[in-house]
């Protein structure tokens, strides 16, 4: 049950407050971190998209971004490291009426959880994946992630990262996602709009959010504080809706292409299952409303 709180004093209440577990605030994120901004956008997207909040479930993995589920006043689950998507898959299949959102970080979703992500996209499972990409493992102290751009300094790459990084949008696109977008934490309005869109979109949806980690990534790479990073995002970002996802690679200080790159309609996993099985089994195929025992 999400059960929105009664707003006792509407004049002084922040509009997103009813969506947060206020008893858990202040949150754990560092000054200048972008994760809180995305949570703000997400709560606004919940308002804008007018989805039934009792039908929204949030699933997180481990890491700084993994803490998001704990602050949202919705049905939420904090899984083990990398396994938010398998959990979300089970959740969606058991109760397809739920709007399942996976909210986690780049290390969680693309290193330890990378296999799960591409398979969920391949199935076009109807879940929404919001990936905060801060280009680093932050919670464990700033090690190289599969997203760390070349030459960036981390605790495990003191001479600069030499491994090629994943292009997350290209990966999600090529694995079959129905919706792929990228924004930075500077683009709060556009991000909110994308989030609002995916809440109403069927199929595997993926939003990448480039987000600062002033404590570990920006500081080590001499890129300033949270505010400097906002300025950097503003200067370096280029909106290119529909850009081929193969052209979206992130470099250490180059251009960041943002926008909505993929928005297509493919039958999702449940539709595929339904059509194949009813075609083969005819009347013998009976579908239950959901698998949750009452």
């Amino acid at each position: 049950m999400s059960a929105l709180l009664e707003v006792t004093n509407p004049e002084v209440t922040n509009p997103v407050e009813p969506f947060l577990r206020m008893e858990r605030i202040p949150h754990i994120w560092c000054p200048g971190c972008g994760i809180g901004t995305t949570v703000n956008c997400f709560t606004r997207a919940l308002i804008e998209s007018k989805v039934d909040l009792d039908r929204v479930a949030i699933v997180s993995g481990i890491g700084c971004s993994g803490r998001v589920a704990g602050y949202l006043r919705l049905d939420s689950f904090h899984t083990t490291h990398g396994r938010a998507i398998p959990f979300a898959t089970g959740l969606k299949l058991a109760n397809p009426s739920l709007n399942v959102v996976v909210y986690s970080g780049d290390g969680d979703l693309f290193a330890i959880g990378g296999n799960h992500l591409i398979h969920a996209a391949r199935r076009n499972l109807d879940i929404k994946v919001i990936c905060i990409n801060n280009l680093i493992y932050a919670m464990t102290g700033g090690q190289t992630a599969p997203t760390t751009p070349g030459e960036a300094i981390t605790t495990t790459a003191p001479y600069g990262c030499y491994e090629p990084a994943f292009n997350l949008c290209a990966l999600a696109d090529s694995a079959g996602a129905s919706y792929v977008a990228r924004w930075t934490t500077y683009h709060v309005r556009q991000l909110t709009k994308s989030m609002s869109e995916v809440m109403r979109k069927r199929g595997f949806c993926f939003i990448e959010i480039i987000s600062p980690c002033p404590t570990l990534y920006q500081r080590r790479n001499k890129m300033g504080d949270g505010l400097d990073t906002m300025k950097y995002y503003k200067q370096k970002s280029k909106v290119r809706h529909g850009a081929p996802t193969s052209e979206l690679a992130i470099t250490k200080d180059g251009e960041i292409v943002v926008g909505k790159f993929v928005d297509r309609d493919r039958p999702d996993y449940l539709e595929l299952m339904r059509s194949r099985l009813s075609e083969q089994l005819g009347d013998r195929y009976v579908e239950t409303e959901n698998l949750v025992c009452s």
């Binding site: 754990i28 700084c64 904090h78 490291h81 493992y137 464990t140 190289t144």
Partner: protein
């Protein structure tokens, strides 16, 4: 600067003449990421330089910046370096926790606090020292941006003055901490320490009992974290391939190891690295890479913590059954699942001893100190290669991430043992080999390394059923013979793993058994039991699983034996139950602590005293 009224209320404890010298704990309550670690390390190091035995324990939250953190320094003239349960001297810098921190103190404790917190109104049975930190930091640190960090150095000066810590030692400790390259930062911080000292000297009247005096109990000792000691042990063991995935509290093992390898393992002639460190995409991959590298003949290792161990279960079974060496360091944290990532526990013993499906058993080493972290890494590699099997080294967060006063590490006296590996010349002489045949009677077969230039060298390694010649087999006798040989190999380890430390008191009817970091609480508790209850105890500290014959001998000599565990289910005791005779098991009693903090002597003493009926 005006003189500050120290007495808060009329019931304030009066000045006492009974000094407590070199026997107290200082707790500093701050906020994560505020630079307090430097201040605390300087304080600890200055005490150490004065010859006083010290220990430092950092209690930190699972986040990067902004949540409450407590650092506890214990000074003990008796040399006790386990956690002391009571806090004698509090430095309250964090408004969020200050009130509760003060409420928890025993009467008579001293409190240095940030003046605006008005902590002197909370209680009247403590010694309060208000310090206007914000007012003091301005003149020493004109740059507002740095004040948050420099502010913490001021309490160092205040504490030094109140306890009588030699300022020259403070200065040495501080400049050592910053190093020669950060001389300017060191000067800025030193001025803050002095400002704190001068303020205290001019404005505070000492009323508490605690003070320090120079001793000579730390000569020749070093201060080091267990994780760094493990890294050094790996270097001396000749590690060449390291694969890992970040996880608290083990990440600093590999970070330290990478630094040491860069320094000590670059070939002087070619300038090339003689090692590879790779950060994998997850723990499944990291143990996989270790087993691959070990099969190729490298000394390979990984370091992880509980959740990583769970993920390594499948590959560990392959290492056991296909008989490939691997060294896995587990810096234990609190489970189950994600648990408490920044708290300490010894809760992975049972699951690791038989990690993976089917009949498996794995050796585990239990280092208790930085010295043993160092020496046992060398033992672990030798055991892994000799017995051709995964070997686990079980540290914990307390040992791994805290600063320990330690003896210098002994230089290895024995050459490393690479085990039974056949070369092309050996094969010429022998005419061939059966990979899984027990030639020597210890259950360990001979192996070749891939790439050996000999027509008889290659063999097919598999995790599926196989016979002596490494051929695929589903035969009943092949399977059972192989499993029996593996069990025999495990028995053979008993004479080669590190033997326990045993201290027999001839008068004692009671014995105490523990492993790893529990030793500090247990060793102090033995003194408490003797001094306060007249209870003499014998003591055995396990260093390895499989257990050695000394364990049964020890239990048989005593009427009751307490097994001290840092987990809920008494896992060390449960593991013993699987191996011991019923009459030995009947003597075992369980002492368990599982709150996530380093075990303290009072907890052990109270539990044993209660079970002894005192």
């Amino acid at each position: 600067m005006s003189t500050i009224e120290v007495s808060a209320a009329s019931s304030q404890p009066t000045r006492t003449d009974s000094h407590v010298t070199n026997d107290f704990s200082i707790q500093v309550a701050t906020v994560n990421g505020s630079g307090s670690q430097t201040a605390n390390t300087v304080l600890m190091r200055a005490l150490f330089q004065m010859g006083i035995p010290v220990s430092g324990k950092n209690l930190f939250p699972s986040n990067i910046a902004g949540l409450p953190t407590w650092f506890t320094i214990r000074a003990s003239k008796h040399g006790y370096i386990g956690r002391k349960k009571e806090i004698d001297f509090l430095v309250a810098m964090n408004p969020e926790t200050a009130q509760e921190d003060v409420r928890k103190l025993e009467p008579g404790a001293a409190v240095v606090y940030d003046e605006p917190l008005k902590l002197n109104t909370v209680r009247s049975d403590l010694h309060f020292y208000p310090v206007p930190f914000d007012r003091l930091v301005g003149p020493v640190c004109p740059e507002a941006r740095l004040r948050k960090l420099v502010r913490n150095m001021i309490y160092d000066g205040v504490v030094a003055q109140l306890l009588g810590i030699d300022m020259e030692e403070m200065r040495t400790a501080l400049y050592k901490q910053f190093g020669p390259r950060k001389a300017k930062a060191a000067e800025l911080n030193w001025n803050a320490v002095k400002a704190g000292y001068d303020f205290a000297a001019a404005n505070l009247v000492k009323t508490d009992r605690y003070r320090v005096e120079r001793m000579n109990a730390t000569a020749g000792k070093i201060i080091i974290e267990g994780n760094a000691a493990i890294a050094l042990g790996c270097v001396f063991a000749g590690v060449t391939v390291v694969s890992w995935y970040p996880i608290t509290p083990s990440s600093s093992v590999i970070e330290a190891l990478t630094t040491y390898l860069r320094r000590f393992r670059i070939d002087k002639e070619t300038g090339k690295a003689t090692f590879a460190v790779i950060q994998a995409e997850d723990e499944l991959a990291s143990i996989g890479m270790v087993i691959g590298a070990s099969w190729a003949g490298a000394r390979a290792m990984t370091a992880t913590s509980g959740p990583g161990i769970s993920l390594m279960a499948e590959f560990t079974g392959l290492g056991y059954y296909a008989e490939v060496p691997a060294v896995i360091v587990n810096v234990q944290r609190v489970g189950p699942s994600t648990g408490l990532p920044t708290r300490t526990m010894q809760g992975d013993i049972l699951s690791t001893a038989v990690l993976s499906h089917g009949d498996t058993k794995h050796p585990i080493l239990f280092p208790s100190s930085p010295v043993e972290c160092f020496t046992m890494m060398i033992s672990a590699f030798d055991l892994a290669e000799y017995f051709q099997t995964p070997v686990f080294v079980f540290s914990d967060l307390d040992l791994g991430m805290n600063n320990w006063m330690s003896d210098p590490f002994p230089y290895p006296t024995e050459p490393i043992n690479r085990g039974k590996v056949l070369t092309a010349e050996d094969l010429d002489r022998l005419g061939g080999f059966a990979r899984y045949k027990d030639v020597d009677g210890d259950g360990v077969g001979y192996r070749t390394l891939p790439g050996t230039r000999h027509p008889k060298a290659a063999y097919f390694t598999r995790g599926s059923g196989h016979n002596e010649n490494a051929g695929y087999s589903e035969r009943e006798d092949d399977y059972m013979n192989n499993m029996d040989r593996l069990a025999h190999k495990f028995e053979a380890m008993r004479s080669r793993v590190p033997a326990p430390y045993v201290d027999i008191d001839q008068r004692a009817h009671v014995g105490i058994i523990c492993a790893g970091t529990s030793r500090y609480a247990v060793e102090e508790s033995r003194d408490q039991l003797r001094d306060e209850y007249g209870l003499q105890t014998s003591y055995l500290r396990l260093k390895a699983y499989p257990f050695t014959p000394q364990l049964s001998e020890f239990i048989r000599r005593h009427e009751r034996v307490y097994v001290v565990d840092q987990n809920r289910d008494g896992q060390l005791l449960q593991l013993m139950r699987l191996e011991l005779d019923p009459d030995e098991i009947a003597k075992l009693r369980s002492v368990r602590y599982y709150g996530g903090l380093p075990l303290d002597a009072r907890t052990v003493t109270a539990e044993i005293a209660a079970q002894e009926g005192f």
